[in-house]
Subunit: 208 residues, 2 copies
């Protein structure tokens, strides 16, 4: 087991893998002790409660995704290129952190009280990043004007991939994102759809 600062992060990953496979409620704390090699006392020292661990898995995942997405949208490329990078980033993230996304998607109704509120707030913040970029593209006349439901549809298209995307799948995360983008960008009325744009965007997701 890793030591010090990353130990909590490591426990979160073990719990996410376990819960993604078997479900939060179906899994006892003893199983979490077994996969982490920790006794109950040591485990509770780190996680405090099972519910808090569930909250932290979703929150940490969303916070990282949001921070990286903010770097992508802050770059000075056109909206079309940044949207393609945002799509690639999300699909890569879901493929690489599939247990965390599975727990987020399947246990979202399990969270209660302020844990639920905070996770929903972060989800809304992430949606806003997409909304603003798409609105920016409309303001620049790169895209047609669309409403929130369309943005939610675009995001849902990505989110649902947690059920089938794999980091080692026959099609890479970037290829999947590019297929999605070909549909979305055409759907938004973007004209810059030549292969060059896709190739340029796939070089890196965070560089300006």
């Amino acid at each position: 087991m890793p030591r010090r600062v990353d130990q909590k992060q490591w426990i979160r990953r073990q719990a996410a893998v376990l819960w993604a496979a078997k479900g939060y409620h179906a899994t006892g704390v003893q199983e979490l002790c077994d996969v982490t090699g920790l006794g109950k006392g040591a485990l509770y020292y780190h996680i405090e409660t099972k519910q808090k661990l569930l909250y932290e898995i979703s929150l940490a995942n969303l916070e990282t995704t949001i921070a990286e997405a903010q770097l992508i949208v802050a770059s000075d490329s056109d909206a079309t290129t940044r949207l393609r990078r945002l799509c690639q980033h999300l699909i890569r993230n879901i493929a690489e952190c599939r247990p965390e996304w599975t727990v987020f998607a399947q246990e979202i109704n399990t969270l209660r009280g302020h844990y639920r509120t905070e996770v929903m707030d972060q989800r809304a913040r992430y949606e806003q990043i997409w909304s603003r970029l798409i609105q920016e593209g409309a303001d620049n006349a790169e895209f047609r004007e669309v409403d929130r439901v369309t943005v939610m549809g675009i995001l849902g298209m990505h989110n649902w991939t947690y059920l089938w995307v794999r980091p080692d799948g026959s099609m890479s995360a970037d290829e999947i994102a590019n297929r999605f983008c070909d549909l979305i960008l055409r759907g938004l009325g973007a004209e810059q759809l030549e292969a060059g744009a896709a190739a340029e965007a796939s070089v890196g997701s965070n560089d300006g």
Copy 2:
């Protein structure tokens, strides 16, 4: 409680509502007795096992959806109109059967053995209906050629709405579907996007 043939269907609905709100594993059989007003003996007479009830909720929902979708695609309208109807049908269905779709989406990994295989097979059958219609549209030169990943993205866009669509929401299921279709049909390169097509398609989903 309803009698005779629809009693099993009614139990499925009560279980779906309960599990959608609280999760399959978090809910004991006693809670199912409470909401149905049945004793354990009578309940087990109808459901056999909890796992079988979960399987039947997802299976019945998918089978109805598939049967209705087959009527839509069998009509003699163009692929653009039929795709719009298929989108409307799915969003309406998710809005009206939200508990069943929630259970399907969130408990899909809970199903085991042949129950899981059969539900996954039905899910694949439903995806094929969409794939074939989109391919037909490409063969007719209504749409551009797309691959399976694009079809999975289009379906995922719809499926994810189980988290937010409501039968009495501020935007109707048909309006949501039309927004999605505006993106998808443009994304597929369909040219027939005038308001008339949307209005015509929204009159009814099953008429040819």
